[in-house]
Amino acid sequence: MSATVIPARDERAGEPEQRDIAAVPGKSDRIFFRGLSSSGLLVLVITGAVGVFLAYEAAQALGEAGLSFFTTSTWEVDRGKFGIAAVLLFTVLIAAVAVAVALPISLGTALFITEVAPVRLRSALVALVDLMAAVPSVVYGLWGVALLQGQALGVARWLSSWFGWIPFFSVSGADPDNPLSSASVFTASTFIAGLVVAMMVIPIQCVVMREVFSQVPVGEREGAFALGATRWGMIQVVTLPFGRGGIIGGTMLGLGRALGETIAVVLIISPRFDITFNVLEAGSNSVSALIALRYSEASGLGLSALFAAGLVLFMLTLVVNFTASWFIARSRSGAGSEA
């Protein structure tokens, strides 16, 4: 009969010496690691250079304008009066509209895919959402300006006539009592830009949420069912609490994308530089649209001012994205998820 034989300890030998278990890489491995490290360094330098250069270029304009850069709303660089108060506000408003529209749809779609849809349909639906993420933003922009704008005008008019008493929905120049009044006061608004950006945000949020929901432990799920929960009851007590980190993280990831979207916004909006919270009103702006529309005529201080605006936008998306990954990593399910 065989058994593990534990070697008898020699009392006289004292404590056994601990062996060093660090591996000593061979010559080929040392070269390999040097190569790997240099590729890491290269990526670090390239990506770091963007950030450093951005800050360096922005310094001139920021020094010129000082704190008024954040409080001025006009953009007249030649006259020394420029700031991103309005532009940044519009950027945030567009992103907020986009997320407000996208969140219910993406959450519902993610839950539909993981919980409700027949198993046969699931992989097709997943492919569909991925496809939605792959459609180029310029296509969404074209669709938004040519098709969605016409449809959304009616919604905007309806919102402003019934909910005009809510500050966000009031529109100066709109006449709620005259249904035949011109719809031009509603075109090119923050609301419509937000709707188009929502189309890009939905798949991003949905992918993260679905990923997290699909990792819900089967045991907990079946435990809820075994206790007599309905499907919605199970979702309430198991799926949603488990996926909370993913929901918040996915939402913020979508927000980060919405803040930086350029070309769709450029196609929709007509730029304006005054501060207003009325999202339905004609005209809007965004930092990236500002850069796209002004870069060609800018030089010297003007370019530096654009860089400063870009830097602020980058900082904003950076904070949003890091918060998103923090939420996702901190959630119970986050270890394996992609974002």
Binding site: T4, V43, L131, V138, L142, G233, N321
Partner: protein, 427 residues
């Protein structure tokens, strides 16, 4: 007999006694059931002549009744909305109709379900209907994007010259039978080729670096790369515009566009390749290390081949993202109407930029061309995307039949080689 073997059973019995569980043998159990009939497992009697034959129960979640309720609620809601719109009230508008019909549907559905189910079941059905509605909204939106773009571009898409000519001979007012976008197709292909050359080796190497080393430097690189995925694409374009074109004085060109798009793709590919490599099972690495392979051989022969399909997917998805980027190309590539195959020192356009410029021109024919270009771009992305799904459908380490055959051949050859060597040694 070794001392270990005798004690194996002990803790279990001890635990059971401590917790007061009565450990009964299966035989005891059966006897209890058959005699006393109080506690214990009751075996159902086998179907015999006295009992009706057992029927297999349907485990599906939708019964016929459920379907009827659903269809009934839908029909009733549509009819009510039809009645309201234009007949009973002065409501108009397609969107309003859909919303009103949906609200009626929910109400009718809830009422019908509540006829024979409890409140929690009603809430459950209504929530499921809401989720399905969200899915339908997303699907309809995507469908409308695809169909509308194709529809608006159809008049240009039907002419072969759209795919074979450039715009050098065709003015803005030219009929759709003249001119095309072959120059932007070529530009897109060239720009993406440069992007691939620039990003793929570097990003895969960097992802391997992040996975194989675990020190402060690699976590710094990971943090910076994560931060850079947040970089708005327009800023990547602005960066290249300011450095490459304004400071270094190069001309706007395909190369500049490719660099700016690469700048945006690089962190994306590194991130997703990092995730894919992390999925390679640890025991494969350990097996390779246990066989005495140095780490670079482990990476080259085990890790990378195992993760190949996932890596391909991450590269293709990066390309699909980069190919549709308009903003950085707008700033760095310039604009041109004729064919240019030289990415250095002369303007070059890509498909999304062409679509953008055409549509913003405001000329009807150019707008049609713009939508056609967008449709073409969408088809291109769709092809790339299907490729990614076909190649990346398998998880790390799962081989296709062809790869299995190849691996079997390889190991048969290895066996022969080893046996041959063994014979040599014996001799």
């Amino acid at each position: 007999m070794s001392p270990t073997a005798t004690t194996v059973g002990a803790p279990v019995g001890a635990d059971a006694q401590r917790s007061g569980v009565e450990v009964a043998s299966p035989v005891d159990n059966v006897r209890t059931t058959s005699t006393a009939g109080e506690v214990g497992t009751v075996c159902p009697q086998p179907p015999g002549p006295g009992l009706p034959p057992q029927q297999r129960r349907a485990l599906g979640t939708m019964s016929r009744r459920d379907v009827m309720v659903l269809v009934g609620a839908a029909v009733s809601a549509v009819c009510t909305a039809l009645l309201l719109f234009g007949r009973l009230t002065p409501l108009t508008g397609r969107l309003g109709f859909v919303v009103v019909a949906f609200v009626f549907f929910l109400a009718t559905y809830a009422a019908l379900v509540s006829l024979d189910d409890s409140r929690p079941a009603v809430v459950d059905r209504v929530m499921a209907a809401l989720f399905a509605a969200a899915g339908v909204v997303a699907f309809v939106a995507l469908l409308s994007v695809v169909v509308y773009t194709t529809y608006r571009g159809w008049s240009a898409l039907v002419h072969v010259n759209f795919f074979t000519q450039d715009m050098s001979a065709a003015g803005p007012q030219s009929p759709l039978t003249e001119g095309g976008v072959i120059h932007s197709v070529a530009g897109t292909v060239i720009i993406m080729a440069i992007c691939l050359v620039l990003t793929v080796p570097l990003s895969i190497a960097c992802a391997v670096f992040l996975n194989e080393t675990d020190n402060r430097f690699s976590s710094l690189v990971r943090t910076i790369v994560t931060a850079m995925t947040a970089l708005p694409s327009i800023i990547a374009g602005l960066f290249i515009f300011a450095t490459w074109i304004l400071i270094l004085g190069f001309e706007r060109s395909g190369l500049a566009a490719a660099i700016s798009v690469s700048l945006m793709m690089l962190p994306i590919i590194v991130r997703s390749a990092d995730v894919v490599l992390r999925l390679v099972p640890g025991n494969l690495r350990e097996a390779s290390a246990a066989l005495g392979a140095p780490q670079w051989r482990t990476v080259w022969h085990v890790v990378l081949p195992t993760a190949r399909s996932g890596l391909t997917t991450s590269v293709i998805l990066g390309v699909a993202r980069g190919i549709g980027e308009t903003a950085p190309v707008l700033l760095t590539a310039g604009f041109i109407q004729s064919m240019n195959l030289n990415p250095f020192g002369a303007p070059m356009v890509s498909l999304p930029l062409t679509a953008f410029k055409f549509v913003t021109s405001g000329v009807p024919n150019l707008i049609a061309r713009g939508f056609a270009t967008a449709a073409l771009l969408m088809v291109l992305v769709l092809v790339l995307f299907s490729l990614a799904r076909i190649l990346g459908g398998r998880p790390a380490g799962r081989l296709s039949p062809r790869q299995v055959r190849k691996a079997a051949q390889q190991s048969a050859a290895d066996l022969e080689r080893i046996e041959h060597m063994a014979q040599e040694v014996q001799r």
